[in-house]
């Protein structure tokens, strides 16, 4: 389903924008405003991160995870919120991003089924490589949502191909080593990396590379299918609120 939806969108627009937020940070009300701004700015895919106490993200997202948990954000509240928001914005693609223990704690199959039931189209779980993910992959498949694996600069060509066998809908490609939130220069070596991804990956390529500005976006836009924007949005949100997020996202395509 995700793959078809993405491909359909890509026929009209390229690159798509995939925007990220952390559920419960700073609050669900704020999340709702941010989603609204994102949708109004034309964002096609929204990545809802369910906070986890052992996140391996970079400092900005990590902090947001912590704050959300400190505010008492529970996984079940995230599901409730997601259900409402998916219903409210039926034309937007929503994904869950979280860590494997969140799935594991309630049962991977239950998680996938519930996600599907509320209209989530895919899940990004960075700490479950496909080799550990048999149960996860099977659960996604039987529930009918797409497991989205990560492709990284350190992944050899051979393995890029292997990973494609497990990934559905999107190839979530990482623009540089390290965790989320670090800026990558949109230089020749990044373009070479994308070309390497292209050669081995037959899925739409979503690239996360620490986009900071329209300039970054423009430099890389011709080469990719989906631009992932994460950390920058959290920063903007903290500096100038949901409204700022909307303005920033709109600016990218102006």
């Amino acid at each position: 389903m995700l793959e078809n939806n993405i491909k359909a969108l890509l026929e009209h627009k390229k690159p798509l924008i995939m925007a990220h937020l952390v559920l419960g940070f700073p609050s669900f009300e704020e999340n709702r405003k941010v989603v609204d701004e994102m949708v109004n700015a034309g964002v096609e895919v929204i990545e809802l991160q369910i906070p986890f106490s052992e996140s391996w993200d970079g400092p900005v997202i990590l902090k947001a995870n912590e704050e959300a948990l400190k505010n008492g954000t529970t996984v079940s509240a995230c599901f409730d919120f997601a259900q409402k928001i998916v219903k409210a914005y039926p034309d937007t693609i929503f994904l869950f991003m979280t860590y494997y223990n969140v799935l594991f704690a309630q049962g991977v199959e239950a998680f996938a089924k519930k996600a599907k039931a509320i209209g989530i189209q895919g899940t990004i779980v960075p700490d479950i490589p496909p080799e550990e993910g048999k149960e996860y992959i099977a659960a996604c498949e039987s529930a009918g949502i797409s497991p989205i694996f990560l492709f990284t600069p350190t992944t050899p060509d051979e393995r890029l191909k292997e990973l494609c066998a497990y990934s559905k809908g999107i190839a979530y490609c990482v623009g540089r080593k390290g965790t989320t939130g670090i800026k990558t220069n949109a230089d020749d070596s990044l373009i070479e990396l994308i070309e390497r991804y292209r050669r081995s990956i037959d899925l739409p390529i979503a690239l996360g590379f620490g986009i900071q500005s329209k300039q970054d976006f423009d430099a890389i836009a011709p080469y990719i299918d989906i631009a992932v924007i994460g950390t920058k949005l959290l920063i903007v949100q903290q500096e100038s609120g949901a409204n700022g997020v909307g303005l920033f996202l709109k600016s990218l395509r102006q």
Binding site: E54, W56, T154, L163
Partner: protein, 413 residues
């Protein structure tokens, strides 16, 4: 142990890593396997530990304690006599040799109590590696002496202000560093946790403890011990000594967790003997964690920083299921009492971590027969813990000393 390819022990273990680290960890596995199948590596390791760290560490007969308790004969495996004062150095020097083999020039490590940080910084000084240590802000505050030595040893200590600001957050921070730096850097994980091959590899380096202990106890007493006691933080010292006796089924292996203020208090670090310990996936492994029903990890508590950890080695989680190891917990109060008794009876100061093993042995020894033998693994020495032990024993002279020192510093500035 089923799937050695990805480091599974029953249902526990595995490699729950982000894709970015995949190649790096497989590279490590390759080097580790090569080293493990190369007898000269172990020889090099053993002779390094002999000449640098004072191995073999002795097995000391605790005659006074045994007589006082009136039951089993107690022997103490003296990992406290290692260079840097704990078993941590065994693992660290082994990984140091491996780092050299991999041609890497930088090491990073997490640390809780600071013991593993000091050991890693020591190894880095010895091998000439660049070194950065991740340590939670709370641990930095309570373990300043170790921070001081790490810095003098040339390491950079990065204060981790995320999450609970403790060991688990330091581990997360180290993984974050590693996912940038894996080309030049080896992550020296400090215990038998994390993704494969760490649990197996760390247990292998620590197995030197068990090999020695078995040979020593048999040479000294002419028979096998009835029980072996070791404290369980991440699991490295316990696996180290237990591994020497796995095949001797008559030997009961007892792992002792941090009972903190009691298992009912919610303030403990008991993963394997408390109801808060549930199977989960974090920090690269599937094992038992202290967590809530939604998979969020709890804050743990122990008087000993080294046992104050949410997870436990997947190898131990498996050994609980197979019942090869029995698990118990000792409370902070029992531990302080065990320290007091061991010092008075034997002139030996166990680390607060190790004192958990003593506390359990002290509970069980009196009920055992006089011709039975107990081995307690003294994983480290307690003089490092003076700030905590002095507080636990409420020593007014110590407080006065610190207050006077502070006044002098305040006046000097």
């Amino acid at each position: 142990m089923e799937d050695t390819e990805r480091g599974y022990y029953g249902q526990f273990g595995g490699m729950y890593i982000t894709e970015i680290l995949n190649v790096c960890i497989h590279d490590l596995i390759r080097h580790y396997k090569r080293a493990r199948s190369d007898a000269s590596f172990w020889n090099e390791y053993q002779s390094l530990m002999m000449s640098y760290s004072g191995r073999p560490t002795p097995l000391t007969y605790a005659q006074n304690l045994s007589e006082y308790l009136g039951g089993a004969q107690i022997y103490i495996k003296r990992e406290d006599l290692n260079h840097t004062g704990a078993h941590k150095i065994n693992n660290v020097m082994g990984q140091g040799l491996l780092t050299k083999r991999m041609g890497k020039k930088r090491v990073i490590a997490e640390t809780g109590a600071g013991q593993h940080g000091v050991a890693t910084a020591t190894m880095a000084a010895k091998f000439g590696f660049e070194c950065e240590i991740y340590m939670g802000e709370i641990d930095v505050k309570r373990q300043r002496p170790n921070v001081f030595w790490m810095e003098k040893l040339g390491a950079k200590v990065n204060v981790v202000k995320d999450g609970t600001k403790c060991l688990k957050d330091a581990i997360n921070a180290a993984f974050r560093d590693w996912s940038f730096s894996m080309d030049t850097t080896h992550y020296v994980l400090g215990t038998a946790c994390g993704p494969h091959p760490f649990p197996e590899m760390v247990a292998w380096f620590q197995s030197i403890v068990g090999m020695e202990a078995r040979q020593q106890v048999v040479a000294e007493t002419g028979k096998m011990p009835s029980r072996i006691f070791a404290c369980v933080g991440g699991g490295s010292n316990s696996l180290g000594i237990f591994s020497g006796f796995f095949d001797a089924t008559s030997v009961e292996l007892v792992g002792v967790e941090a009972g903190g203020l009691g298992l009912e208090s919610g303030k403990h670090a008991a993963r394997l003997v408390s109801s808060e310990g549930k199977i989960g996936v974090a920090q690269g492994m599937k094992t038992v964690f202290v967590q809530d029903n939604e998979g969020q990890m709890h804050e743990t508590h122990s008087i000993s920083a080294g046992l104050d950890y949410i997870g436990v080695s997947p190898i131990l989680a498996h050994l609980r299921e197979t019942k090869r190891v029995r698990f118990e917990a000792a409370t902070d109060a029992e531990v302080v009492e065990a320290v007091r008794l061991t010092i008075r009876k034997e002139g030996i100061i166990p680390a607060l971590e190790s004192a958990h093993a003593f506390a359990q042995a002290i509970k069980e020894a009196p009920k055992m027969k006089k011709d039975e033998i107990i081995v307690v693994n003294q994983s480290g020495r307690g003089d490092k813990d003076i700030f905590i032990i002095a507080d636990a024993l409420k020593d007014p002279e110590w407080e006065k000393f610190i207050i006077e020192k502070a006044e002098a510093y305040n006046a000097g500035k």
